[in-house]
Symmetry: C2
Subunit: 261 residues, 2 copies
DNA sequence: CGGTTGATTGAGTATTCTCAAGAGGAGTGG
DNA sequence: CCACTCCTCTTGAGAATACTCAATCAACCG
């Protein structure tokens, strides 16, 4: 099942029907300056290019299953993927939301710990695991950046734990929308005040799995916020926030609650 | 407030009344083979020794407050410390349980993100932050081990998220006791089946903050498990598990549920 | 022997879940 | 173009889990 880097000019398809090719360069890569490779230069980048290949996934398609062998690690180039953990009776908790530039997989471990599913069209920049692990050992620019990113993820996980353990359903929803707004603003480099428009990248069920709620509660709370004018809905996924600060107040966090503290 | 390494033969006290000294060597250190320094050898260890100092804390004493400046990072040598996050209205969620060999602090960040409190007598092996950060850059053995430990913590955080988001109060309690049993077994190198004895390192309130419950619910669930013979209590903190597998069944996890799968 | 802290227990409440029905949209095929 | 299906989402009613408030208990300490 090992997949070797492709150095062909044309695009091929693997067994699962995923597109992959090795022709794209790092120069024009949209996540070049934020991904695990962002500190790499010259030779280092060239070495990474030799062990990389791209794979794409359609919405709903599984990327890996927990327990499977995984022979690559990867950066999300575009799209959204979810990491989930499951109790045997089917209860599911999302434990990671992977957006562009986020890293997938754990160097030094060959078995996947969590299910990963594409929730939109996803493009991954994959690195063969063995040579990548070797580079981790030899290229400080790579291991430094990975350490930084892992610590960021740990911080995010801890924020998430506060949400799961202590926030009300209403606060969870408001917090989630705020998180999406922030991440979208970071990508688009847009401002984060006044009227904001965003697209929810998840179904109600996936949001429920993210927030530790049922999909019914998610639906009820979103519509409650809508009724109160804190958000406007067009369709099921498109959200407009007339006043971002009002949403933040509902999220229950300290910080930027609107007034100066 | 910068604290310099002590090279004195006698033990001193700082303003807070904490013991610290620089005389102890790494050779006899109880966490030498598991802490952040575990891969370091010879010169590397010597360099670490030059920037290290010990600090001790009494039960209940704060180690650092979220928002404070922090000029060191540290390994827990002995005792138990808790990392907590707080919502402005006082709701508290524990986000880290630091046992011996665990690492505290984030290289590259000078402001503390979470409150850290000693819950038992705690001894820290502290490293001055600036030189430690430099060593991270120059000593692969150090950054590799830190990366590994950070990834382990991320895995633990994600397991914890599953607990917070999806488990019932009863499962949370059972899971928590199982976690303590496992960590204690790992330290004592004891077996993990049949009759097991352990000490709860936290008060009911701290357990509640760990599990996203109220202290009353914690108390009720512990006593429910006691009534059903899944655990025995002597005093408030000392627990005996007559059959570890029965506890695991209550924890709701997959894996080793007693029967072979 | 009061005072304090941590833990237990009870009664009533509230938030969230469960189960169930139905609405709205997108895609398919006659 | 319409009926039909599938999927996601919404909404309602009742149930259950966990919370809140309050009283009591036990251990420890001055």
């Amino acid at each position: 099942m090992t997949m070797s880097a492709q150095s062909l000019t044309q695009i091929k398809r693997n067994e699962a029907g995923n597109l992959f090719s090795g022709i794209e360069g790092c120069d024009s890569c949209p996540i070049r300056h934020r991904a695990v490779c962002s500190l790499c230069v010259g030779d280092e980048l060239a070495a990474l290019e030799r062990i990389k290949f791209y794979r794409s996934f359609e919405p709903g398609q599984p990327i890996v299953w927990g327990g499977d062998r995984m022979d690559f690690v990867a950066s999300v180039v575009s799209g959204v993927a979810c990491l989930s953990q499951r109790l045997e009776d089917g209860r599911t908790q999302m434990v990671g939301l992977l957006l562009p530039s986020d890293f997938m997989g754990r160097p030094g471990r060959d078995v996947v710990a969590y299910d990963a599913v594409a929730t939109t069209k996803v493009k991954l920049c994959c690195f063969r695991r063995q040579p990548f692990e070797e580079m981790i050992r030899k290229v400080p620019h790579l291991s430094q950046r990975l350490l930084e990113m892992t610590m960021d993820e740990l911080d995010a996980a801890r924020e998430w734990m506060l949400l799961l353990g202590r926030k009300t359903a209403r606060e969870k929803i408001a917090s989630f929308i705020a998180i999406i707004a922030r991440r979208q603003a970071a990508i688009d480099a847009g401002p984060l005040n006044g009227r904001i428009t965003l697209e929810l990248p998840l179904t109600r069920e996936a949001m429920a799995d993210y927030l530790g709620l049922t999909l019914e509660t998610v639906s009820r709370q979103i519509n409650a916020l809508k009724r109160e004018g804190i958000l406007e809905l067009s369709g099921k996924r498109h959200v407009v926030l007339p006043e971002f600060a009002r949403l933040l107040q509902e999220a229950g966090d300290d910080s930027d609650g609107g007034w100066i503290s």
